[in-house]
């Protein structure tokens, strides 16, 4: 009777709603709170249909993920962080597997190897949903560690899908895996084919009715899911292939994206709550496993990441911040766990432990964020100081300078300023922390320091004591404050995104603070007034702008990878 189902769903959503209010109040991601909602409301949500709906949640999650992938981005993303990602796989995975196997042996699980794999997956993979929320601001501000962390997330998600593909056989033999991979590849290829031809056909037939395009997209998902089930693959692979098939450009793209995003949110809330609901009351075994899992995720993972990022050439701070935003269990691990539960290949304590550890680490990761800086200053910075100094020395080139200009950040604005300084033959030093730009710095700048702008030695190396002007093009409050605190008589020009912050920085002693939006606003007003007064025509404006673009391009300001 649908009534009971409706009541069950009502329980799911009301608890999820209440708990997400709490999450929002503390600025945390709602996802762990959905899991907690499930833990609380578990007893009332037992219908088999709800579990089916939860699986649709899995399908939609992966579907939405795959739609968002831009294959052009894959290369750039992976390039950023391949060493760290692979190192983690090579180093942490065996450790995790070993620990998992120990537990399996200790507690007498039926298939300790398989359970160890699940344990290992939960340790190694980090969460892009929760991590993405965590890093929202950083990614927007284009900070290096934000970029690094999201690269790792993306890499982990792809690994997770491959893992799900392999794990969807009940008995793992070489033949079975080969067959799985074969089917999986076929599905993805079909998906690509639909991307090319099928989807545009759908849009054409729908003739402007975005509801039909939305329903059509979901039908494609259903078709792929059915195909995956028919050949015995995990629905995740089907959903992934379906997501590949959907185009995210075109006139209806925004509406379809919005539609899929709303429906996904609906089902994924059900998924996370159901996952929590499936957890029984934790026994000592469960707590032990969960504890070990959490410890590995919270401490070993970030450590390995930190070391590998530093090895790749990033400064310690960036490495630490990136690593510490990767310390939560991925929602893909939850999907692996629930798939295993439904296939009957995972021991109950292991399942419960993974879910618990996921909820715990997702919440703790947000709380850890608050203490990040403190931990960095007290622990990490000390440990890495010597190494940092050496690195900075190795990768900088600074002549005897005085009365020079220090330019912080070699993005769009930094490069423009450097150009101007070169035109006027003024000595300068560029301070930048992104090792990807090292070759450019070496080729284009007379003097540069490749180091962390928040570390004292970097400034020492840049001889800021003798500088006449420090010009920071980085929109990051800690950097601005660091610059103001330097021991120097130099004038200080900073950058900020809000007039309020700019005012405070001016009060603290900055000579000038550039607020790009305010600057743009003035030009905007001037242009609108000119247009209204008839002093210029839209054609003229466009022509002038296009000329300007050509000039900029000549100076090399229009590359795809350009940092803003």
């Amino acid at each position: 009777m649908a009534e009971e189902l409706v009541i069950a769903l009502a329980v799911v959503f009301v608890t999820a709603g209440v708990l997400s209010l709490i999450a929002n109040q503390f600025g945390l991601s709602p996802i762990p709170f959905y899991i907690i909602a499930g833990l609380i409301a578990g007893r009332f949500v037992t219908e088999a249909e709800i579990v089916v709906l939860a699986q649709w949640g899995i399908a939609f999650l992966v579907f939405a993920f795959a739609i968002r992938i831009d294959f052009g981005d894959v290369e750039t993303v992976l390039r950023d962080a391949e060493v760290a990602a692979v190192t983690q796989l090579i180093v942490v995975a065996p450790i995790a597997f070993g620990v998992g196997y120990l537990f399996g042996d200790l507690f007498g699980f039926a298939d300790p190897v398989r359970n160890a794999v699940y344990f290992g997956a939960a340790v190694v993979l980090s969460s892009s949903l929760v991590g993405g929320v965590l890093l929202g601001t950083e990614i927007r501000q284009n900070l290096v560690h934000g970029r690094l962390a999201s690269s790792i997330h993306f890499f982990d998600d792809l690994v997770a899908i491959a893992l799900l593909l392999v794990l969807s056989t009940e008995v793992v033999t070489a033949d079975a895996i080969a067959a799985q991979i074969g089917y999986g590849v076929v599905l993805v290829v079909v998906g690509l084919g639909i991307y090319r031809h099928g989807f545009p056909l759908l849009v054409r037939l729908a003739d402007g009715d975005s509801e039909l395009v939305l329903v059509g997209s979901i039908s494609i998902l259903i078709a792929f899911l059915a195909a995956a089930e028919y050949v015995g693959l995990s629905i995740v692979v089907g959903a992934f292939a379906a997501g590949v098939a959907i185009r995210s450009d075109g006139t209806q793209a925004l509406e379809v994206q919005n539609g899929i995003s709303s429906i996904t949110d609906f089902f994924t809330a059900i998924f996370f709550v159901t996952v929590g609901a499936l957890v029984a009351f934790p026994s000592l075994e469960v707590l032990a496993i969960a504890g070990a899992l959490s410890a590995l995720v919270l401490f070993v993972n970030p450590l390995v990441h930190l070391l590998s990022f530093v090895y790749e050439g990033y400064d310690a701070r960036t490495a630490f911040l990136a690593g510490s935003s990767l310390n939560q269990v991925s929602e893909f691990a939850l999907i692996i766990a629930i798939q295993a539960l439904l296939m009957g290949t995972i021991a109950d304590p292991m399942f419960d432990a993974i879910i618990l550890a996921a909820a715990v680490t997702m919440v703790l990761t947000f709380l850890a964020r608050r203490t990040e800086d403190v931990v960095y200053e007290t622990v990490v910075a000390r440990l890495f100081r010597g190494q940092h100094t050496r690195k900075v020395d190795e990768r900088s080139s600074v002549d005897e300078l005085s009365e020079h200009v220090v330019v912080v950040g070699y993005g769009r604005i930094g490069r423009r300023i450097v150009e101007t300084l070169e035109e006027h033959d003024t000595p300068y030093v560029v301070v930048e922390n992104d090792p990807v730009l090292w070759t450019e710095l070496d080729a284009e700048c007379r003097n540069y320091v490749l180091g962390d702008a928040l570390a004292a030695y970097t400034w020492e190396k840049a001889r800021v004591g003798d500088a006449r002007l420090v010009c920071s093009t980085v929109d990051h409050r800690p950097v601005s404050e660091m610059v103001l605190d330097l021991e120097t008589d130099a004038d200080v020009m900073l950058r900020s995104s809000s007039a309020e912050d700019a005012s405070e920085l001016l009060d603290a002693g900055a000579t000038h603070v550039a607020v790009p939006d305010v600057l743009a606003g003035e030009q905007l007003i001037a242009t609108v007034e000119d247009l209204a007064a008839g002093e210029t025509e839209p054609d003229e404006l466009e022509r002038a702008q296009r000329d300007y673009f050509r000039t900029l391009e000549r100076y090399g300001f229009a590359t795809r990878d350009e940092r803003v």
């Binding site: 249909e49 601001t137 329903v215 089907g238 793209a253 005012s503 939006d517 007034e529 702008q545």
Partner: protein
């Protein structure tokens, strides 16, 4: 792993419905017909592949509930209050007169006494989902005829609950029994209604202001709110859909409702599709459907024409204009799928046989199909018949006019860039409308009271419609996202002036190609300015100092102004609200980089 797609009935329904829907679209038919047809094809009448149980039933129920939730979201108290007396009269009159007409027709066609009673009771209802869906899609649901129809439908729904309750009781005892059941039902409904009203005034504004910035939490909490009402209604044995409607109304009063509408609509669309299919699924089989086929056709024609005139007379009598009366009546001529529900209940109680149910079903099918076309083309039909109907026109008719903006200026995103431009735009254009996704910006605008505002993400159609993007003369977008700006340029009028922002030169070029008047390249601009300043610094120190002083003045001026506004606002209520939400700082119209 359980088979969620291969074995799922609703999955089959969705896929088949899409295919038929696409065919329908290509042949110019309304998609609702396609969905009902899907149900007929897949159900007992034709192939009998799926049933309407389990998840299918759940989704159908959810679809209907969400539809009414959405409907509630669009209703403002003020809108309803104006026409409430008129609507109550019309609903009352319509129920009485239509029941009488149905009674007469059934009697004339030779049915038995009990059958006549059941038929009369069952066929009085209008098909809420069809009317609401089509009118919403055509964006006429908040027009005057739309509102009248919605009002009548809601009253009918309440009446339906009573009828169902009466049918469901195992023994219809004396009048006292009926009266007490009725009393309880009405009491519970008023409770829920009052709860909705009170929460709208006291609980919800504060609650939603806190979460409106975080779009995921916002959606889930709104859904939870709807489910809460549904569960309460379900638990009190009332119609859960009316509960959902009341939940929607309570949120409708907040400025965040437009944004919510856009997020709920896709979910609704998905589920309501299943609902329409279940209409077809509920029909028992071909034989019972055709048992009284010619009677059904005759009855359908008579009832459609009769219902139209009854409604027309009633609405016209309340003093509304001819067009309103015409459109309002035309929308309501069908027999609702409720007749199937009432019929099914009546069979359970042994009042009628399955042939009569087949007769009811056929009537419902016929009238629903025809009226789908009628509603879809209602304006065209009115224009055709207008000369004939003008005899009913009188000078003292009252018709409210829906006011929209026109020839106005729109600013997308309320930030440093747009703020400066607003005063200037005010001088040149009749009105200035600001679209923004952040609650504190909207509150600033509200307290300032100078500009109109719409809370929401520009990506969403409802938000664009509310601001009447098509009628704007000037649009300023501070979003750097290419797809948003391209959508903007595609929808705006050809002669409108459009200023957009971009971060990359490639994007800027594309935007110019699509018709942008001017593309602001904020960070390039900043780069220019800063390098100018640095140049001045090394060449002409005095000029540098002057330029800097000017800039500093501007920045401080901006900050002072916003600080004043902040202060003015904080002297109002709610000291507990925080302004910091860095967990999810995404926004729809803000510049990045």
């Amino acid at each position: 792993m359980s088979e969620i797609a291969l074995a799922a009935d609703f999955a089959i329904i969705v896929v088949v419905a899409t295919v038929i829907g696409l065919i329908a679209r290509q042949t110019g038919q309304p998609t609702i017909i396609a969905y009902i047809l899907t149900g007929i094809l897949l159900g007992p009448v034709a192939f009998d592949i799926v049933t309407d149980e389990g998840l299918v039933e759940l989704m159908a129920d959810l679809g209907f509930a969400f539809l009414l939730f959405l409907l509630g979201l669009k209703m403002r108290f003020d809108d309803i209050r104006e026409i409430l007396p008129a609507v109550t009269n019309v609903a009352f009159g319509q129920t009485v007169l239509q029941t009488a007409l149905a009674f007469l027709v059934a009697w004339a066609l030779g049915f038995g006494t009990v059958e006549i009673l059941v038929i009369a009771l069952a066929t009085v209802f209008g098909a809420t989902p069809i009317i609401v869906k089509i009118l919403t899609d055509k964006d006429e649901i908040t027009s005057l005829p739309g509102k009248i129809d919605v009002g009548v439908l809601i009253v009918q729904d309440i009446y339906l609950v009573i009828v169902l309750a009466l049918f469901a009781t195992d023994e219809l005892g004396g009048a006292a029994d009926i009266a007490s059941t009725l009393g309880i039902i009405l009491l519970m409904m008023s409770f829920i209604g009052i709860f909705s009203l009170l929460s709208s005034r006291y609980i919800l504004p504060g609650l939603f202001r806190r979460i409106a910035d975080n779009k995921d939490v916002f959606l889930i909490v709104a859904i939870a709110w709807a489910f809460l009402f549904v569960a309460i209604a379900e638990g009190a044995d009332l119609d859960p859909k009316v509960g959902a409607f009341l939940a929607g109304i309570s949120i409708a009063q907040l400025p965040y409702s437009k944004e919510l509408e856009d997020r709920i609509t896709p979910i609704t669309d998905f589920f309501i599709l299943v609902f329409f299919a279940t209409i077809g699924l509920q029909i028992d089989g071909l034989s019972s459907l055709l048992a009284y086929w010619w009677q059904a056709i005759v009855a359908s024609i008579v009832l459609m024409v009769g219902n139209f005139w009854i409604m027309f007379y009633l609405i016209d009598r309340e003093g509304f204009g001819v067009e309103t009366s015409f459109l309002g009546s035309l929308n309501m001529v069908q027999v609702s799928e409720f007749s199937l529900i009432v019929g099914a209940l009546a069979i359970e109680q042994g009042y009628i046989g399955s042939d009569v149910l087949g007769y009811l079903s056929l009537m419902a099918l016929l009238t629903m199909s025809v009226s789908t076309y009628l509603i879809a083309y209602n304006h065209a039909i009115y224009e055709r018949l207008e000369p004939w109907f003008s005899r009913f026109d009188a000078d003292d008719k009252k018709d409210a006019d829906v006011s929209t903006y026109d020839g106005h200026a729109i600013a997308i995103g309320y930030d440093e860039i747009t703020e400066q431009a607003l005063a200037l735009l005010e001088d040149h254009y009749s009105e200035v409308v600001v679209i923004d996704r952040q609650t504190d910006h909207i509150e600033e605008l509200e307290s300032e009271g100078r500009y109109e505002f719409v809370f929401g993400d520009f990506r969403h159609t409802e938000v664009r419609k509310e601001a009447n993007l098509k009628g704007a003369a000037f649009v300023l977008s501070s979003s750097v996202e290419r797809e948003v700006n391209e959508a903007l340029l595609a929808e705006v009028a050809d002669d409108a002036t459009v200023f957009v922002e971009a971060e990359r030169i490639g994007d800027a070029r594309a935007l110019y190609d699509r018709g942008a008047t001017y593309v602001i390249m904020t960070s390039h601009l900043a780069a220019e300015k800063l390098s100018e300043y640095v140049e001045l610094y090394v060449t002409d120190r005095n000029a540098f100092d002057d330029a800097v002083v000017r800039d500093v003045e501007r920045v401080r001026g901006r900050h002072r102004r916003s600080a004043d506004r902040l202060e003015a606002r904080s002297t109002r209520i709610d000291p507990a609200s925080t302004g910091d939400s860095d967990a999810d700082g995404t926004s729809g119209g803000e510049s990045d980089g």
